[in-house]
C-alpha cells in the first residue's frame, strides 16, 4: 500500500545541504504494524512526514494505494491526508480550549462529513475515553490526552496511523497501555500502524522493525506480510 523508491529529502541550510533522507526504499502492506527505530536525527520524522503527505520528497517515487502521490496538487494531498492518514505526535498536539469531543470532530469538519458528534463520540469510546468527552486538554492526564489524539486520528477511519514517538512523554505503564491499544487496532480492525520509537520495549509490540541511520535504512526485520498486495489498487 505504501511504496517508497529511492526517496531523498534534502534541506538546504545555508552553505551545506542536509540529507535528512538519503535514498530510502520501503514497502509497507495493509494491516502491518511497523516500528521505525534509529538515533535522533536519523531521518525518522522526515520519513513519517513524507509518508503522511505533510512533506514532499526531494527526489524518488512515492506510491500510495497504487497512485503516484508525489504528483498530486496541494489540495488533493490535503484531502488525502485528511481521509487516509491519522497522525499521533509525542506532544499530543491538541488545540487549547477545545473539549475532547471537539478535538475529535476537527478532521470531520474538513471532510464536510455528516453526523460528526456521534462519530467523534464513537471514536472516543474506541480509545476508552467515554467518560472524558467534555474534558479540556488541561483537565486530562498525558495518557488521556494522547488517547484523544489517537481518537482524532481514528475518527476518519484512516488506512494508516502514523505515530511519531507517541509514548515519548508517557510513563512506562501508560506507554504499554497505549501499545496494547495499537495492537488491538491492528489485529481487530486491520489498521496499518507505522510507529517511531527509541524504546525497544515499545518496538517489541510491532511485527516488523526498520532501523535507520543517517537518512538510510540499515536494517529491516521483515519484508511486508502482504508484500504481494503492496502497490496494488487502493481498497
Amino acid at each position: 500500500m505504501i511504496r517508497l523508491h529511492e526517496v531523498t529529502r534534502v534541506y538546504a541550510t545555508g552553505e551545506t545541504a542536509v540529507h535528512a533522507l538519503a535514498g530510502v526504499s520501503l514497502e509497507i502492506g495493509r494491516g502491518e504494524f511497523v516500528a521505525i527505530m534509529g538515533q535522533s536525527g536519523s531521518g525518522k520524522s522526515t520519513l513519517m512526514n513524507i509518508i503522511g503527505l505533510l512533506d514532499r520528497p526531494s527526489s524518488g517515487e512515492y506510491g500510495f494505494g497504487g497512485r503516484d502521490v508525489a504528483q498530486l496538487s496541494e489540495d488533493a494531498r490535503a484531502r488525502l491526508r485528511g481521509s487516509a492518514f491519522g497522525f499521533v505526535f509525542q506532544s499530543y498536539n491538541l488545540l487549547a480550549r477545545m473539549t475532547a469531543l471537539e478535538q475529535v470532530e476537527l478532521p470531520l469538519i474538513y471532510q464536510g462529513a455528516p453526523d460528526r458528534k456521534r462519530r467523534a463520540a464513537e471514536a472516543l469510546v474506541r480509545v476508552g475515553l467515554q467518560d472524558r468527552i467534555t474534558h479540556l486538554p488541561t483537565e486530562l492526564s498525558g495518557g488521556e490526552q494522547q488517547r484523544v489524539a489517537i481518537a482524532r486520528s481514528l475518527v476518519v477511519n484512516p488506512l494508516v496511523l502514523l505515530a511519531d514517538e507517541p509514548t515519548g512523554a508517557l510513563d512506562t505503564a501508560t506507554g504499554h497501555e497505549l501499545m496494547t491499544l495499537f495492537s488491538e487496532l491492528v489485529e481487530q480492525q486491520g489498521l496499518t500502524v507505522v510507529l517511531v520509537t527509541h524504546e525497544a520495549e515499545v518496538a517489541a509490540y510491532a511485527k516488523r522493525t526498520v532501523r535507520m541511520r543517517d537518512g538510510r535504512i540499515i536494517e529491516d526485520s521483515g519484508s511486508p506480510v502482504t508484500a504481494a498486495a503492496a502497490g496494488g489498487p487502493a481498497p
Binding site: 520524522s45 496541494e74 490535503a78 505526535f89 488545540l95 480550549r97 474538513y110
Partner: protein, 418 residues
C-alpha cells in the same frame, strides 16, 4: 469546510480573546458611527438651511445692493446708508409689467431694541409695505398687517412677529398697545402703535423675531436714508413671481431695468431666486459633507489597519493550531477561509455596533441646541449601507493578507516536538 463551520471557528477565536477582539472592533465602531453621524449632521444642516430658504415664501426673487450685501449682515444703519437700491426701483419694477411678476415689496431691515413697559427684546425691524405679507406668505394672527392706508400716510404702526409679541406682552393682546423701537444703540427712539400680530411661522422662519413697520413712516423720520435726489434707500427688494413663471427671464428683465435706472453698465446689485440660494447652500453643505465624510473615512481606515494588525499577531500566535489543522486535512483554502471569516466577523461586528451607535447618536443630537445652534440630523440610509459595506470591505481586505500568511506556515515546523 462549510461557511457555518468557518463562522463557528471564528466566533470561538474571537471569544477566546474577548478584550482584544472588543478593542480591535472598537476602531471600526468609531469609524462607522462617525461616518453615519457626520453625514446625518451634514445632511440635516442642509435640510435646515433649505427649509429656512423655502420658509421665506414661494417663487421669490431677492434683489440686494452689491455694496450693502456685504454690510447688511451687521444690521446697522451704516450699511443701509451705502445701499444703491432705492424704493423707486421697486415701484419701477412693479410698474414695468414684466410677465411673471406678481408683486414687489421693498424693505429696510435694521436691528433694533423693541421695548414695551418693562419688557424688551432685540428684533429685526423690517420697514416695508403692505404687499410684504402677500410676498412672504405671512398669516395674521390678530389685528392687521400694515395696510395700504399706512403706506400712504406714513403712520407709526407695527405688526409684531409671534415671538416678539409673546416676549413683550406675555398673556396680553398687544393690538392697540404702544411699542417703542430704539435704533442706533438707543440714540433714536420712536413710539409705534401695534396693529397686528403674525401667526407663529414654521420653525425655520425668521419672521417670528421681526417687527414690521411702514417704510414711509420710518423713512419720514430718518431723513439720512434718502439719496441726494430724494429717493429712499432700501436694503432689499423682494419679487413674488407667478408659480411656473420663467424665473431666469424675470431676473434678466429686472436686471436690465435696474441697469438702466442706475445708469451703470455693471450691476451694482445682486439678483437671486430662492432656487439660487438653495443651490448655493446645497453646494456648501455638500462640500462640508464630503469633508466630514473623509475624516470619518480615515478613522475607518485606521480601524481596518487595527484589524489587520491583530490578525497578523493572531496568525503568528497560532502557528501550532494551523499546523494541527493542516495535519488533520485542512487545505490552504480552508485556512484562508478561517482567517478571512474571523477578520470579517470582527469587522462586521464593529460595523453593526457602529451603525447602532451612529443611529442612536444621530437621533440623540437631533433638535438639541449646540453652541446656540439647533442641530438637525437626517440619517441617510445610503450612509448606513455604505458604512456596512466599507466595514465588510475592511474586514475582507485586512483579513486577506494575514490569511495568506497563515497558509505559508510550515505544518512540520509547527508540529515539531519541542
Amino acid at each position: 469546510m462549510s461557511p457555518l463551520d468557518a463562522f463557528r471557528i471564528a466566533l470561538r477565536a474571537i471569544f477566546a480573546n474577548r478584550l482584544r477582539s472588543a478593542l480591535t472592533s472598537l476602531g471600526l465602531v468609531i469609524g462607522v458611527s462617525s461616518v453615519i453621524v457626520l453625514i446625518a449632521v451634514g445632511q440635516g444642516t442642509q435640510r435646515g438651511v433649505t427649509d429656512q430658504i423655502r420658509g421665506l415664501g414661494t417663487d421669490l426673487i431677492f434683489i440686494e445692493s452689491s455694496a450693502a450685501a456685504t454690510t447688511s449682515q451687521t444690521g446697522g444703519l451704516g450699511g443701509l446708508a451705502q445701499s444703491t437700491l432705492v424704493q423707486g426701483d421697486a415701484i419701477a419694477i412693479a410698474d414695468d409689467a414684466i410677465p411673471g411678476v406678481v408683486s414687489v415689496a421693498a424693505q429696510i431691515a435694521v436691528d433694533a431694541q423693541a421695548v414695551a413697559g418693562s419688557n424688551n427684546v432685540g428684533a429685526e425691524i423690517v420697514g416695508t409695505s403692505s404687499t410684504y405679507a402677500e410676498v412672504r406668505d405671512l398669516g395674521i394672527g390678530s389685528g392687521t398687517f400694515i395696510t395700504p392706508l399706512h403706506d400712504e400716510d406714513g403712520s407709526l404702526v407695527a405688526a409684531l412677529g409671534a415671538r416678539v409679541a409673546d416676549t413683550l406682552y406675555p398673556g396680553l393682546d398687544p393690538v392697540g398697545q404702544e411699542v417703542r423701537l430704539s435704533f442706533a444703540g438707543g440714540r433714536i427712539t420712536f413710539p409705534f402703535i401695534v396693529v397686528g400680530v403674525l401667526d407663529e411661522q414654521g420653525g425655520a422662519s425668521e419672521a417670528n423675531d421681526q417687527v414690521f413697520v411702514p417704510l414711509s413712516g420710518v423713512a419720514g423720520r430718518l431723513r439720512f436714508l434718502y439719496t441726494p435726489t430724494g429717493d429712499l434707500r432700501v436694503t432689499q427688494i423682494d419679487i413674488q413671481t407667478a408659480s411656473g413663471a420663467d424665473e431666469q427671464r424675470v431676473k434678466d428683465e429686472v436686471s436690465e431695468l435696474l441697469l438702466f435706472l442706475h445708469e451703470t453698465p455693471e450691476p451694482d446689485f445682486v439678483i437671486q431666486s430662492q432656487d439660487d440660494l438653495i443651490s448655493a447652500a446645497t453646494e456648501v453643505s455638500n462640500t462640508l459633507s464630503i469633508l466630514l465624510g473623509s475624516i470619518a473615512g480615515i478613522s475607518l481606515l485606521v480601524g481596518g489597519i487595527g484589524v489587520m494588525n491583530i490578525m497578523l499577531v493572531s496568525v503568528t500566535e497560532r502557528t501550532r493550531e494551523i499546523g494541527i489543522r493542516r495535519a488533520v486535512g485542512a487545505t490552504a483554502g480552508d485556512i484562508v477561509k478561517q482567517f478571512v471569516t474571523e477578520a470579517l466577523t470582527l469587522s462586521l461586528f464593529g460595523g453593526v455596533v457602529g451603525i447602532a451607535i451612529g443611529i442612536g447618536a444621530s437621533l440623540a443630537v437631533d433638535g438639541r441646541e449646540l453652541g446656540g445652534q439647533e442641530m438637525t440630523t437626517l440619517i441617510q440610509p445610503w450612509s448606513i449601507a455604505m458604512a456596512f459595506l466599507v466595514a465588510a470591505g475592511v474586514g475582507f481586505a485586512s483579513g486577506s493578507y494575514p490569511a495568506y500568511r497563515a497558509t505559508t506556515v510550515d505544518p512540520i515546523a509547527a508540529l515539531r516536538n519541542e
